[in-house]
Each structure stands twice: as C-alpha cells, then as structure tokens.
C-alpha cells in the first residue's frame, strides 16, 4: 500500500513538473519548491544522523566507540571550526567564519593542485606521447598540437600558425559536436526514464 501511495505521489509530481512545458502554473511551483525543501531537509538530517552524531557527538560527549582522551580533545578542532562557520548568521561575529572558509579553501586548493598535476597533467601528457604508427594516434597528436596552437596567443596568428590555429578550431568544433550529441541523448534519456515510470510503474499500460 505504501508503495502504491508513493508511486501516485511521484506520478503526480512528475506531471506537475511536465505541466511547465504548457505554461507556468501553481502545480509546477508546488512540485519545484517541494523538491528543493525535501532535498535540503534530507541532506541536513542525513549529515546529522550519519556524520555529526556518530563521528563527533558520540565519541566526544558520550564517550562511545574506541576513543582515547586525545581523540576526544582533537575533536574540539572540527567542532570549533564548524561553530565558527555558523557565525555567519550573527553579523557582529561573522568574521569568525572566514577562518573556517580559509581552512576549507586551503585544503581544497592543496588537494586540487596536487590532484591536477599528479592525476591529470602528467598522465595525460604521457598518454599523448604515443608512437605515430596508426591513423588514430596521428589524428590524436595532430588534434592536441593544433588545439594548443589555437590557444597560443603570444605570436601573431598568420602563416603556418594560422593554418594550425584553424585546424585546432576544427578539432574543437568536432569535440563540441560530440558533446552536444551526447547531451541530446542524455536529455532524451531523462524523458524516457520518466515516461517508462508513468507507463510501466504507474499506469501499468505495458507489462
């Protein structure tokens, strides 16, 4: 019974969202706001129940789990930074949140830089250094060089550089075309998914 009710609610909300294609209306607005509200509430409750409570409240205040005194004290650091982030809501002490934000940005930047170099730049350069023994390899290397020339703005784009730049633009356009094709497929897939739900799971028109 619960599943039937859930299916009917989901079908109603799907139709409410689809109704926007005809024109903006209150049903669409209700469904849209409901989605945002439920998502936010779910995220907050999930983070509390599965992260903050078992990893901070329980070991620090209730002494549960295999924690030493040192482990409990070290938890003060994330607790303080978390509370400082909430200071944004109080204008007089809002500046405190900058410390938490600075920590977050610093960690993200540090991880990002090493990740980009170790995980993308070097392996991708290595992946481009291939023997030119097949048409695919030749095409790939030519594409990389031509695209780099297209984005090289320190010398005038004329002569051989202009030819390379134009070729690079062709490669970029082909890449955009492929991305657009995939995007069309993705959007149609979403429509297929919803219609499959309506036809199979809700209306049971097709078994």
């Amino acid at each position: 019974m619960t599943q039937i009710i859930g299916t009917w609610i989901a079908a109603g909300l799907t139709l409410a969202i689809f109704s926007f294609l005809y024109k903006d209306n209150p049903f669409y607005k209700v469904a849209e706001h409901l989605y945002v509200g439920v998502s936010a509430a779910y995220a907050v409750l999930y983070a509390w129940a599965n992260d903050v409570y078992p990893m901070l409240v329980e070991p620090m205040f209730l002494g549960r789990g295999a924690v030493t005194t040192a482990d409990r004290w070290i938890l003060l650091v994330p607790l303080l930074f978390g509370l400082m982030m909430l200071a944004r809501w109080v204008p007089r002490i809002a500046w405190l949140s900058r410390w938490s934000i600075a920590l977050t940005v610093g960690i993200a930047a540090g991880l990002g830089i090493t990740g980009q170099i170790q995980g993308i730049l070097l392996p991708q350069v290595a992946g481009t250094l291939v023997p030119l023994t097949s048409a695919n390899n030749v095409l790939m290397v030519a594409g990389v060089i031509a695209t780099l020339v297209y984005f090289y703005f320190s010398i005038a784009q004329k002569g051989a550089v202009k030819v390379g730049s134009r070729l690079g633009m062709v490669f970029i356009m082909v890449a955009f075309g492929a991305s657009f094709g995939y995007t069309v497929m993705a959007r149609i897939s979403l429509l297929i998914g919803r219609l499959q739900f309506l036809v199979f799971d809700w209306l049971h028109v097709v078994k």
């Binding site: 294609l21 005809y22 998502s39 779910y42 995220a43 999930y46 983070a47 129940a49 599965n50 992260d51 078992p54 990893m55 789990g65 960690i107 993200a108 991880l111 990002g112 990740g115 980009q116 170790q118 995980g119 993308i120 392996p123 991708q124 290595a126 992946g127 481009t128 790939m140 890449a175 492929a178 991305s179 995939y182 995007t183 069309v184 497929m185 993705a186 959007r187 149609i188 897939s189 979403l190 429509l191 297929i192 998914g193 919803r194 219609l195 499959q196 036809v199 028109v205 097709v206």
Partner: protein, 273 residues
C-alpha cells in the same frame, strides 16, 4: 516559402508533443533494436568479469534523481554482474541525494542472488569530505565511515573484516553525473593506483574518453546507450534496452527538426529583399 514561415512560427508546445509521442509510442509497443557493444563498454565488462570470486568492488553512486534514468540502469547491471560473479560489493556515494538510489538498487538486485547484507554487500552511504575523503579512504575507511548507512559499526560486518583501505579494493566503479569521477581518477587512481571503471551520464561521458585513451580508467559506460550495451553483455535486458528504440526515434525526429530549421533559415534569408 509560406511553409517555412509557418514552420518558423509554430507553437513550441507542438514540438514538445511530437517529441513526447516519438518516445512514448516505441515504449507502448515494446519495440526493440539490436544493440552493438562498443569497446569501452566491453572493457568495463571485462574489468569486472575477470575478477576472481570474493574480490571487493567499490561502487560510488554519485548522482541523484535528475540523472537516475541514465545511471540507475548501469548501476543495476553492474550489481547483477557482481552478484552473479560472487564478488563483494561496497557501495558509497559522494552525493547525499544519491544514497536512496544506492539502497534501492541493492534492495532490488541482492535478493535475486541471495546476497546477504554485511556478508556479500555493504552500503556505506554518504559522508561529507569529497576530495579529502577520497584521499583519506586510502588510509582507513573507518576514519570517515565509523558506521554504515544503517548505523552498524563496520567492524561488526563480516565483509568488512580486513577491508581497511584501497589496498583491499580490487575495482572502483564510479557512476558519475558530475565531477566526482575526475576526483576519483585523481585521488584514488593516480595516487593509490586503484583500477577504475566509469559509468557516466551522456553529458559527462565525452569528458572521460581522454582518461580511457591514457589508460587512467579501465572502461567507460556512457549514458543510456552504454547501459543498454552492458545489459546486452550480461544477458539481462532491462530499462536501458527498452528505452533505446525510443531514443533512436527521438534522435531521428530531432535530426529532422535541425535539417528543416536550417533549410528554412536559408530559404527565408534568400527570399528577403
């Protein structure tokens, strides 16, 4: 000329209707087209198929409802493949709204293979941390997941005995609707040498082919087409294969619209004084 003028002024809602019908009719008549399996999907399939029994496959459910029609069929296909091969499945996610989809998939597929929670599969759920978490999992999973998504401590789950970090993960499957796949490749793949397979939405998939070419990932399953190919490989036709005829009809219709629109544009431009 008048024809193209009328087409240019057509109510856009008629186009929506035509598109809806082009998708709906093939679904109603359960039309099926043969599926040709591409090499990136076959490589993804082989990465799982070649694993010995008991290997641990970590699946990261990094999507939510807005991408589920594309990625959930891939997830279900991979779960069926893993359970059929008697592999251990460890599910987690970088998107908090993805956790229900992780649980839904396990709840649907695990009973079909008599897979037991805690023994054959575990759902860790979501934790904040993102990049820091991906790096931290290389040290100790329990640092981020003291308990699983059901609130059970990991040490009390038989499957998790001896599973502490990436050293015990034989394959990571990232199901990606955003950037998390790039992060898995950077932090789990490049830093810890974890073998990775990516399943991605159609929007994300084109940005992942260079990882495949550079052998940073073992296989790539792109969008609903990739899901249909995977269903074909495991011999379990599902929502993806059922949806591909509708996909083809919709693409034909869109191509017709694009051609018509461009021809109309040039005809009308030429006719202008």
């Amino acid at each position: 000329m008048r024809f193209f003028e009328r087409i240019a002024a057509i109510d856009r809602r008629l186009i929506y209707l035509a598109l809806a019908l082009s998708v709906l009719i093939p679904l109603l008549f359960k039309m099926v087209l043969p599926t040709r399996v591409s090499e990136p999907v076959r490589a993804a399939y082989r990465s799982i198929d070649d694993l010995p029994e008991g290997s641990v496959v970590m699946i990261s459910v990094d999507y939510d409802a807005s991408s589920a029609p594309e990625l959930q069929p891939i997830y279900l296909g991979i779960l069926q493949h893993c359970f059929a091969k008697k592999l251990k499945v460890l599910v987690l996610g970088q998107w908090v709204m993805g956790t229900p989809f992780g649980e839904l998939g396990l709840g649907r597929i695990a009973p079909l293979y008599d897979a037991v929670y805690g023994v054959d599969y575990v759902n860790l759920g979501y934790r904040p941390g993102y990049r820091a978490q991906m790096v931290g999992l290389g040290r100790e999973i329990r640092d981020f997941f003291a308990v699983d998504s059901r609130g059970i401590t990991l040490d009390s789950l038989p499957m998790m005995a001896g599973v502490h970090n990436y050293n015990q993960i034989d394959l990571l499957v990232g199901l990606e609707a955003g950037q998390a796949g790039d992060e898995w490749i950077q932090f789990a793949g490049a830093r810890y040498g974890v073998d990775i397979v990516i399943g991605a939405t159609g929007v994300v998939a084109p940005d992942k082919f260079h990882y495949l070419q550079a052998r940073q990932i073992r296989g790539l399953i792109g969008g609903l087409q990739g899901a249909a190919e995977y269903e074909t490989l495991i011999g379990k036709p599902g929502a993806a294969i059922a949806g591909m005829v509708a996909q083809s009809w919709a693409h034909l219709l869109l191509l017709a619209f694009i051609v018509l629109g461009n021809v109309g544009y040039f005809v009308m431009r030429r006719a202008k004084p």
